[in-house]
């Protein structure tokens, strides 16, 4: 009795020391990851408020001597040609991403529902065929799609982008939504069916509202995917007034290679919409992404 009373605290303190060791390792590691993640973003912000000359100094000014918002003003000024271009690219990106998002939700919702609920022949085959699309890079499809778009007369239109973005966003959208539908009890629909609702009514009135978080997540995912897409836009669009932001910025700065403050300001503004969207709706997004992979 007396021995246990003596040894217990000692064992406890030894264990605490060991646990503390792990905890400190964790903290130091997290600090390192925070630096790795944040320093590039902070450096982008600091550079964006420098003047062109201040950015080209060695050693660099860690904090600008004369912070200026000139780069932002130039990009957002509809009077000057740089601003006109930037705002047009911004608008193009917004338009393409929004239309893509709406269409992919409309197409993905019924498909995901069917994959989750019905057991028609070929269901598994079709589901994996849809998922397999995720495996293939844009480049494989690029040459034939280039020809197809030329054939359909969609070159240099936003239609070509919307159509392609729709397909590369769909597999994941369907996969994410299926995870949500799998979690909604079938009994709810059955109860509605007993009360006289058709399958479609049960779907619209019962399942849709319950799967709203999944739909929101899918929508954000489509939006971010379309907003950040580069390779198709780079290939299908050649006219300056059609370009989306990623390509527009690249075109623009391949001509002005030394305007790093401008480039950083543009990169920052390009990131704002998706980062804000993501931070606001983070919960749904993270949940949906992991639903399919880890659910038990």
């Amino acid at each position: 009795m007396s021995t246990t009373a003596e040894t217990a605290p000692r064992a406890l303190s030894r264990r605490r020391i060991r646990v503390d060791g792990w905890r400190w390792t964790g903290r130091i590691f997290l600090a390192f990851m925070l630096l790795y993640t944040a320093v590039p973003m902070i450096w982008m912000l600091i550079t964006s408020i420098k003047s062109g000359f201040a950015a080209m100094e060695f050693p660099p000014q860690w904090w600008p001597d004369e912070p200026t918002l000139a780069s932002y003003e130039k990009l957002l000024d509809p009077q000057n040609s740089v601003g006109q271009d930037f705002l047009r690219f911004f608008w193009n990106s917004l338009f393409v991403s929004t239309v893509t998002t709406i269409l992919s939700v409309i197409v993905a919702v019924p498909a995901a529902y069917a994959f989750s609920r019905f057991s028609f022949p070929g269901r598994n085959f079709l589901f994996f065929a849809v998922l397999l699309r995720n495996m293939f890079p844009a480049v494989i499809f690029l040459v034939p799609l280039f020809i197809l778009m030329r054939l359909l007369g969609l070159m240099n239109t936003h239609g070509s982008l919307i159509l392609t973005y729709l397909t590369f966003g769909l597999p994941l959208a369907i996969w994410l939504l299926k995870g949500f539908y799998d979690n909604i009890p079938v009994q709810l629909e059955q109860a509605a069916r007993i009360d006289g609702a058709t399958r479609f009514q049960a779907f619209i009135l019962i399942v849709m509202p319950l799967s709203a978080p999944g739909i929101i997540a899918t929508a954000i995912y489509s939006f971010i995917g379309a907003w950040n897409e580069y390779i198709y836009a780079y290939t299908f669009l050649t006219k300056n007034d059609q370009l989306t932001l990623p390509v527009g910025i690249q075109r623009f700065f391949s001509e002005n290679t030394t305007d790093f403050p401008g480039l950083m300001a543009a990169s920052f503004m390009m990131s704002v919409p998706v980062v804000v969207l993501f931070l606001v709706l983070q919960r749904y997004f993270v949940r949906a992404l992991t639903e399919g992979a880890v659910k038990h």
Partner: protein, 319 residues
């Protein structure tokens, strides 16, 4: 309620018995309407291009892509690729790029998830900050890092010189030996958050009681991780690693924007090389043959991908 469920169950079982595949398809005809729009879009934009790529890979097509003037050349495009020196260089780069990015991003993401698993003040904020690189566009990321690596005014070079570790700022992305590792660092910066999210969600499924029971039995933190936590995460880990591997194998933007494959092909990976062959040098046949080879490689990877995913599905079914 229970009776109805039982009846539905019985009917489903009856239907899944042997009643003829065609009859089943006919009985389920309404179900197909739900998937039809998705399948239709996929067919136009996927099946057709795959077919067309295979066809083009056996032809020599003029630079202007005048399809009427293409001539059949058999396997010439394939032999051109496999005998070229660049092919092996690019393949080696792709291998390093894919394996390096995938493994390091996974390990960092997993470790971050573990470190974030316990509750502490500011955890939510920290997690949100760590995820941001994954959300922002790869084009923006490429430009940010290009500026960081800048050989005259880059911040890393300045820090190294300031600490006396280098006489002058090193050339990170203009030198053959450092370009690929430098780009991998950028890629990992964008991708470890994905592994982190997946593994965080996975960690939540590890039963708390088991960990506590192991602790009572005197298992150390490492033993608890290795014998309890890790086996529970095997499926999530497989899926995460596969998704990362596929994404890395297919990445384009970072090498394309930061170096364009240079200097002297040191940072060309398959995808950027194919793009350059097709849209840079208009060698459509060779580029298509490359795509077909890529496609075959990916099908092999895809086999494991589907197996891992359906393994998950099976486990769900039995759970």
């Amino acid at each position: 309620m229970t009776i109805v469920t039982g009846k539905a169950e019985a009917r489903r079982r009856l239907q899944s018995g042997r009643s003829g595949a065609l009859r089943q398809i006919w009985e389920h005809r309404a179900d197909y309407a739900y998937v039809l729009p998705a399948i239709a879009v996929m067919l136009v934009v996927i099946a057709y291009p795959i077919y067309y790529t295979i066809e083009l890979s056996f032809f020599k097509t003029p630079p202007g892509l005048q399809l009427r003037d293409k001539t059949f050349v058999g396997f010439d495009n394939y032999t051109t690729i496999l005998t070229s020196e660049v092919f092996w260089r690019v393949t080696w780069n792709t291998l390093i790029w894919t394996l390096g990015s995938t493994l390091i991003a996974f390990v960092l993401g997993f470790a971050t998830a573990l470190a974030l698993h316990r509750e502490f003040v500011g955890r939510g904020v920290l997690r949100a900050i760590l995820i941001i690189p994954w959300v922002i566009s790869a084009v923006a990321a490429s430009y940010i890092w290009k500026w960081i690596y800048h050989s005259d005014f880059g911040i890393i070079g300045a820090v190294l010189v300031g600490l006396g570790l280098a006489d002058r700022p090193p050339n990170f992305i203009d030198s053959v030996s450092t370009v690929l590792p430098s780009l991998i660092v950028v890629n990992i910066w964008r991708e470890f958050p994905f592994a982190m999210i997946m593994m965080m969600a996975g960690l939540q499924t590890v039963p708390e009681q088991l960990l506590r029971a192991a602790q009572v039995d005197g298992a150390s933190a490492w033993q608890r991780f290795w014998h309890v936590t890790f086996p529970h995460l095997r499926n999530v880990s497989t899926v995460t690693i596969l998704l990362l591997a596929v994404a890395n194998f297919n990445s384009f933007i970072i090498p394309w924007i930061m170096t364009g494959g240079g200097p002297s092909n040191a940072s060309h990976i398959w995808i950027t090389h194919i793009y350059e062959l097709a849209f840079g040098r208009q060698r459509w046949g060779v580029a298509s043959a490359y795509s077909v080879l890529l496609f075959l490689t990916l099908m092999t990877l895809g086999y494991f991908y589907v197996r891992a995913l359906s393994g998950n599905e099976r486990q769900e079914g039995s759970a």
